[in-house]
Symmetry: D2
Subunit: 293 residues, 4 copies
């Protein structure tokens, strides 16, 4: 049901730092016409931690309203506290989101034992009107969900999948091996999409899908059609640009890439800084090398 | 002006998870009668990331109202975004706080270059009606402010000091060496209070000061009076209990220690879990060994 | 030429801590009859850092002499200094080894810039009579070779491949994408063998191949025959046992597994400790679950 | 008996990479006339991991022969295996060393539990004719000895102290608090010498003592004489230069600093690279700022 390729969309801001709703609609119009299976609003690439709650709620509604109904909209609703996560998940439901993506709480990472995370997610799953995706994002959280924990959580009927951005392919294999076929594993980066699909992942939630939606969906489709060699060539081709819009230049890089393909990226919010001119030039070169420009 | 020993107070909750205002007043009454020089509200030990904004603002006001005026109240106002940090700092000012303690934004830590942090803090300092303390907390943020960055920031008239909880005593030395005498370095943990004072720190902001206020102030006073040997004995004596209420058992341990000294600790908010019975027993033993019980 | 599945063999010791040559021969006789394409002597699993130079040289000769000539023998010759690495590589050549596997020097990891590693490997490659495999092993070295560095080194005619044990599948993809078809990428752990093959790796050097040689070779053969689904099932099935003989129980676990399949594992050398009885029981259970016992 | 300030001397090489014995004697002549209490041969700064065993043994003898008898000579004898460590410790004894400094084995750091390290050190202590210093060096080993482990090991009569280079001053406090007055804690870097002395350390083993022996000894002497303010000024003054000859530029930086004070530093062995011209210039500037040049 949530299979396929999702774009965790950036939140566009105008020069005064306010959400640029018109620009967002233009982007949504474009994504809406692509082969993408769905969008994630207020994820890491949506600068969720830099949005206030009112903005998030409006964003959920706005994205749902401006996205074709056959495409899913998943709302990033994870906060540090269970209270806030539940509140936001309920608000996302009211605003039409199809599922909630919930990052591991991490500020108190020294205390985030498997037991603490298990109790947290079960409590949230009980209280959320929306089905839940676990969200493992070690690069930002400095915390990794173990395969065993994910397997235990997958038994809860309201926990329907995981977005694993850690990139540890052996762990992704273990999660797939230990969970049922109704539990969806979504590759959290285009850097390991094809290997994850090979092991049984049901799709990907990929920053890169914002700027290269068709190429990302192509890998998924080619793999499902057994055209492995073509899928492999595409996968290898997008490693450098994927790096550029994730680890290397971050959200600001993703936004600059949106600008370079003539969509709206715009500036990130402080403390994030826009990419520098020199970085933009490097990004452009990488995009040309992988034939995106 | 902000010299001395501060307790970063825990936020007490009742069993339903709401702030237990009456219990807080009892605790404040007690701290108010100690030799502590001030309190920090909504810091790490106050579970700031688990409080919503309305709670934080009411907390700032409540703590200020229930604390003797000769003791300072510092408000933890750091959020991930500059917008929110500024908003909260202004609210803290309105609610009577004497200064703002602002943690490094860290979710996008891969992008938090010295340049990004410098721009962030300068922007916040320009906009905050309250004087600002930098807050370096690598254990939670996985980010360390360099001595060079702190030195540059110290030149801004509204940036008056740093709470450095990293525990790298050579770095603390470098910060002291590179900043002027009007820039206050506050040791961020009782584990290195005396060494920091020796190098020129002006005090400490210490989780342990919540449960052992007089012993912590004694180290400060003994050091200032040149009674080094007594200060050293006290410092060595509190290392184990300090460990227990910080890295080892976390905020839940600090709250359990409050309960054990017959103040109100109570439960933390989810995802934090209360200490287990066995851990409480260990904590009790450690408190007895250092003659706190 | 070096394609296929290699077992990085453990070095058996008797109870007094000396190399148990007879036991080694028995193991070699067995591995010699398997489908393995080759062996690595004095790698991480061979406790190379716990062997002296005389032992290593004798080991290279002994393994070569007792291994069928159609199977390759690769010698682990990497030391901290270029001098020692070159000396050992020359000795390995004299003793009949087919190639040298050279780990990144790492004690001075703060100084191991790409530039330092590049100069090191080029110098060693110039001086080694044997073709060289780079060996990236972040779990032990706390150092990761970048894909760019590997690509530059791959241009040297005497640097023929890399054993990458890091498990970052995106990095493996980037290495494959940036090197020519004559540069061999060998998956350094069975945990990501199939995903690496999919991206273009030419084989694997797998601790697990010591105890499950045919299953590991099967994945390789099935993949090459296009029987992806069967390969996938095998890959998922061996994740837990692979974990057990690598990260979880280490070399001592690998040796215990050898004992459990009625080959000779024996004790590791100090400071390594044999697995405890309880760990052995867990290992046995895992081996049963994956139908190895 | 081993109290005071020790210089862990660099091993000088000539341009062909061989030990430059004459240059070493010149350096030893100079150190011999300083106030240093002793030297360490074949420590981290001696590039021990880049020396072969024959060189180490000859080095121990040479340093002892060319050092005044009232100064101690400690031999770095730690290797990855207990066998080799014991062999080297015995050789060091034969060659006149006064004690052995033994680093934590670390290649298999995932297996280096407190139990493994305890057994290792007790076994070595039983077999070493020389008294033993534990050597905790997390920056190079990625391993930290816990205060509890050190306390247990300190009970062995042949384990007489620890060189702790970790820089965690709270841990140093805990070690001092948990060990007897006959167990010597030596600060492993000039970055935290004075704070460590304050808590009860008996001296320091300091890379910086190679180039600033008198200033380092002065801190020790001033502290012992109660001249805290002068000691503090010296401590703060040497933080930058200490950084430069340790973490920042490494052993190559230390050697360049030796050259700059007109002693012999010379090139490090590969894979280490000499400092670049620009780095040498920076080093010179730092040395001028702290009035060493």
């Amino acid at each position: 049901m949530f299979h396929g390729i999702y774009a965790p969309i950036p939140t566009p801001f105008d020069d005064s730092g306010e959400i640029a709703w018109e620009k967002l609609r233009d982007n949504l119009d474009w994504w809406g016409k692509t082969s993408l299976h769905g969008l994630v609003a207020a994820g890491t690439n949506g600068e969720a931690v830099l949005l206030d709650n009112e903005e998030k709620e409006r964003l959920f509604a706005y994205v749902r309203e401006n996205t074709p109904s056959e495409k899913k909209v998943i709302a990033g609703t994870g906060a540090e506290s269970a209270r806030e996560t539940i509140r936001l998940s309920r608000a996302a439901a009211k605003n039409g989101a199809d599922a909630a993506l919930i990052i591991t709480p991490h500020y108190f990472k020294g205390c985030m034992s498997d037991e603490a995370l298990e109790k947290y997610y079960l409590h949230v799953a009980e209280s959320s009107p929306l089905p839940i995706f676990l969200y493992n994002m070690p690069r930002n959280t400095n915390l990794n969900m173990s395969a065993g924990l994910v397997a235990r959580l997958s038994k809860h009927p309201n926990i329907v999948g995981i977005k694993d951005s850690g990139g540890n392919i052996a762990q992704i294999g273990k999660i797939i091996e230990k969970t049922g076929s109704d539990f969806l594993v979504s590759a959290g980066s285009a850097g390991f999409l094809l290997p994850a699909l090979l092991l049984g992942a049901g799709g990907g939630t990929l920053a890169l899908a914002n700027v290269m939606p068709e190429e990302c969906v192509d890998i998924y489709t080619l793999f499902n059609n057994g055209e492995l060699e073509k899928a492999r060539a595409l996968q290898l081709n997008l490693l450098d640009i994927n790096d550029a819009v994730t680890a290397r230049f971050g959200v600001a890089g993703l936004k600059a890439a949106m600008d370079l393909i003539a969509r709206y990226g715009g500036p990130p919010r402080m403390p994030l800084l826009p990419v520098k001119e020199e970085e933009k030039r490097q990004l452009q070169e990488i995009m040309q090398q992988c034939r995106l420009l």
